[in-house]
Amino acid sequence: MSQEWPLWEIFIRGQHGMSHRHVGSLHAADAEMAIKNARDVYTRRNEGVSIWVIEATHITASAPSEKGPYFEPSNSKVYRHPTFFDIPDDVGAM
């Protein structure tokens, strides 16, 4: 397994997108190669104008087992959603 290229997470900014979005992952020997591979794997149908790559090992993720303590407490706190304000019609779609 040590012979395998490291895994890279790929982020692409689309034609009209404001921010880079995670699109998937691929293998490459280094960052430059990861960008080239991402160009070939993820932008061949004109999807993007910018590519970010980051080696997957550099991402720290929350643990699935912590899902309860982390996220459930906010379920019952509807007052944190700004849905109790009257929005003037002139504002239009938000």
């Binding site: 290229w5 691929l26 293998h27 490459a28 190669m33 794997v41 061949r44």
Partner: protein, 250 residues
């Protein structure tokens, strides 16, 4: 043959035969990412073929389109350089062949954007962007593998030793090249010779590869006089369907 048509066949056949060769990797490349990249490059080259051969057929004026020229000519009608018909062998040979071609193609297409023939200039401008990416990719692969492990270095050196004698034909001007350059339509290959070998040698040095000590260059591909035996085999697999079922569409 009209010299412009023959010149366009050289451009189109280089792209066609290399595109066909590279597409042989589809589903067989050493990694999924490389497989997709190689298929993209092959498709770029086939796209370039359609433009060059399409224009050749138009100027020829005998009702032949790009498909007719690709599928219904025989070995002695092809005008591609000997380099591009060389077999894939292994990944090292494939990438070295690609690099030696891309370095030439990027220079050639850049020069062709100044062609007095506006259609040739427009096609060259479109293809040049693709060629720059291909060169970027193949250069880095040659450097990465050449300056890599003992095994990858040995394989790249073997590839270079095998293919070096086919690089010279690309930048060696013959009568047709000179006629077309003089007319302002084609590229002055004599002027490309030095920058080509400078680019190639610089990359090979970075890749820690030893350039073979010879200026010998096999010739006869782009003139159509002496293709290697490999071209017939490529055409057999590429053309068999149109030969067996003439006019078949799908």
């Amino acid at each position: 043959m009209d010299p412009t048509v023959e010149y366009l066949l050289r451009l189109g056949d280089n792209a066609l035969i290399l595109g066909q060769r590279v597409s042989e990797w589809c589903g067989h490349a050493p990694a999924l990412e490389e497989d997709i990249a190689l298929a993209n490059i092959a498709l770029d080259l086939i796209g370039q073929t359609q433009l060059w051969l399409g224009l050749a057929g138009e100027i020829e004026g005998q009702g032949r389109n790009a498909d007719d020229l690709a599928f219904l000519r025989d070995v002695y009608d092809f005008r591609n350089s000997l380099l591009v018909e060389q077999p894939n062998q292994d990944f090292a040979v494939t990438m070295m062949r690609q690099f030696l071609f891309d370095a030439f193609s990027a220079l050639q297409l850049d020069a062709l954007t100044h062609s007095k023939n506006v259609e040739i200039a427009a096609i060259a401008a479109k293809c040049h962007k693709e060629a720059l990416y291909h060169l970027d990719r193949s250069s880095e692969t040659v450097i990465g593998l050449g300056d890599g492990t003992d095994i990858s270095h040995a394989k790249m050196q073997n590839a270079l030793d095998r293919l070096w004698v086919y690089a010279g034909e690309l930048v060696s001007a013959d009568d047709l090249d000179r006629t077309m350059a003089k007319a302002g339509v084609g590229v002055d290959l004599d002027a490309l010779h030095t920058p080509y070998f400078e680019t190639v040698r610089a990359t090979l040095a970075t890749a820690t590869l030893r350039v073979p000590d010879t200026d010998f260059a096999h010739k006869g591909g782009k003139s159509g006089q002496r293709h290697s035996e490999h071209l017939g085999h490529i055409l057999t697999s590429m053309q068999w369907l149109q030969r067996a079922y003439p006019g078949a569409k799908w």
